[in-house]
């Protein structure tokens, strides 16, 4: 029933065990994301979806298990090195640098060694075309933006790293429907450009529509793995694990 693993895995997670202090959060999570693939990660609150993303990003170090990027182990590397190797992270609470302007927020990812001025211009033009409101507010402090605008900024900021994969944690949480469809569109555009996405969401229809494959987590482990096309919102398995 499980779909085939992607031919060329970009990020592979093998048997991750992560603790917060004494509480055992991840009980052997394994999953993989292929090059240019959108993969959904579903599950109720508190099953370890965000922890999985943080562990991949190197923000939490697992006690056991491996994270591979292009087949090379990256477990235990600090987050800043992973960001430079092409992993972008859009956290659940957005974590905009509130006192930095929109432009400065973008520059945290843009001012890297080896990026030419022309390339910087291109990247900025790209995100400003996606999110014209960010161009309008480029000199405004990040903390003054609305929730939806902060979400756009968080995604735009990750794009500045020219990532090969973006870890997207509940991007539509608390957003107006119009914003939700804009996020959906961005995922599609990034995917067309060959960026892989690991999407954690509570919004099941959006996840099934945007993803190629879906993992469903429960109690710190992956319980179900399917091609997104094989699942429908009302399926028993969705109901069983997500209660919707």
């Amino acid at each position: 029933m499980s779909p085939d693993a992607p031919v060329e895995p970009l990020v592979a997670v093998e048997d991750l065990h992560t603790y917060y202090g004494k509480s055992h959060i991840l009980h052997g999570v394994s999953l993989c994301v292929g090059k240019g693939e959108v993969v959904g990660l579903l599950g109720r609150n508190g099953v370890g979806k965000s922890t999985t993303l943080k562990t991949i990003m190197g923000l939490i170090h697992p006690d056991r298990g491996k994270v591979l990027l292009d087949g090379t182990p990256i477990t235990g590397l600090p987050a800043h090195k992973l960001a430079r190797r092409g992993i972008g992270y859009v956290p659940e609470d957005r974590r905009i640098f509130r006192l930095l302007t929109v432009m400065e927020n973008l520059r945290t990812g843009l001012d890297r060694h080896g990026v030419t001025d022309a390339r910087k211009r291109e990247l900025l033009d790209k995100v400003f075309a996606f999110f014209p409101v960010l161009a309008e507010r480029r000199n405004q402090a990040g903390g003054t933006l609305s929730g939806g605008e902060q979400q756009m900024l968080a995604i735009a900021r990750a794009i500045m790293l020219e990532p090969r994969i973006i870890l997207l944690d509940e991007p539509t949480e608390g957003l107006m429907p119009r914003m939700v469809s804009q996020i959906r569109e961005i995922i599609a555009v990034l995917n067309r450009e060959g960026v892989a996405i690991l999407l954690v969401e509570q919004n099941v229809p959006l996840t099934l529509e945007a993803s190629q494959r879906v993992y469903i987590m429960e109690k710190g482990a992956v319980r179900h793995h399917a091609a997104a096309a094989e699942l429908k919102v009302g399926d028993a398995v969705i109901h069983q694990y997500l209660g919707v």
């Binding site: 923000l59 600090p78 987050a79 800043h80 960001a83 400065e104 945290t108 990812g109």
Partner: protein, 295 residues
């Protein structure tokens, strides 16, 4: 009414305003390093006064060998900045994320070691740094040294330059981003451990520069850091922990208050003013006098 106006010692007030600004600028230079280090890595650096003292001593040594005050200022700043980087890497970096008490003990230990090193190396007798020029101008009944004005101007220039660096450079953005959200800064590829080291080095260098600048006004001895670190802590708290602008404003505010107070009481008693301000701040506005009201 007229008699009351006559009783105000205008000349003394003007002189003390000048004095207050001069010490305020030096204090601001010390305190901005302290507040920056606290703001970015939650480290309360008890060794900051000793970095100031060490800067002054290196100034004494370089001045004695080269004869150039400016070379002394430059070399003391650079050497202490490097020392600061080395201290941060060896002592503070391994403690990142631990109980803040461990970093307090570590910096307190560094401060004791540096103080006693200075005592051992240079002895208990105070040394003097000769000011680079000795011109005076007449202010009422007083011959006011130009050098004091130069201290204020140079401190302002160093702080101003640093502010521009924070505001416009890529590295400034890195520092501000790391101050606001260390974890997200790291996820954006900012090498946070090195940002910490660099900030500690910059703070140490600024302390050393103020040590050399202030050396000509007081004797240089192994305990000179103690007075200043205490005052610097007061202004950091009064200005709002971690707020650079707040610390600068509080430095000048408290130095002016002390200067005015010493018109009527002895300078030793005038110090009480800063403690009163500290206590009032902690009672009524513990987030700091010079930061916006927290929401």
């Amino acid at each position: 009414m007229l008699e009351l106006l006559d009783a105000i010692p205008y000349d003394q007030i003007l002189i003390q305003t000048l004095n207050g600004i001069v010490t305020g600028m030096i204090l601001a230079l010390i305190a901005s390093g302290l507040t920056l280090i606290f703001g970015i890595m939650d480290v309360v650096n008890f060794a900051h006064g000793e970095l100031f003292m060490l800067g002054a001593y290196i100034g004494v040594v370089v001045l004695a060998t080269s004869g150039s005050f400016w070379l002394a200022l430059l070399i003391a700043t650079l050497v202490v900045a490097l020392l600061g980087a080395a201290l941060q890497i060896t002592t503070l970096r391994p403690l990142l994320g631990r109980d803040p008490l461990t970093t307090i003990l570590a910096t307190f230990g560094i401060s004791l070691v540096l103080q006693n090193y200075a005592l051992w190396q240079f002895g208990p007798v105070a040394r003097k740094i000769q000011e680079p020029f000795t011109g005076h101008f007449t202010l009422f009944y007083l011959e006011y040294p130009f050098y004091r004005l130069l201290i204020a101007a140079l401190s302002a220039a160093i702080i101003g330059g640093f502010w521009l660096f924070l505001k416009h450079g890529t590295f400034g953005i890195w520092i501000r981003a790391t101050t606001q959200d260390r974890v997200m800064a790291q996820a954006m590829g900012i090498p946070v451990p090195w940002v910490h080291t660099a900030v500690f080095a910059i703070g140490a260098g600024m302390a050393a520069a103020s040590g050399v600048l202030f050396g000509p006004l007081v004797g240089v001895n192994h305990a000179m850091g103690l007075d200043w670190i205490l005052k610097a802590f007061i202004v950091v708290v009064v200005g709002g922990m971690g707020s650079l602008g707040g610390s600068i404003a509080a430095s000048i505010f408290i130095s002016l208050l002390e200067a005015y107070a010493s018109i009527w009481v002895s300078p030793a008693q005038a110090v009480i003013v800063s403690f009163v301000v500290l206590i009032l701040t902690l009672l009524f506005r513990p987030t700091g006098l010079f930061v916006p009201t927290p929401k």
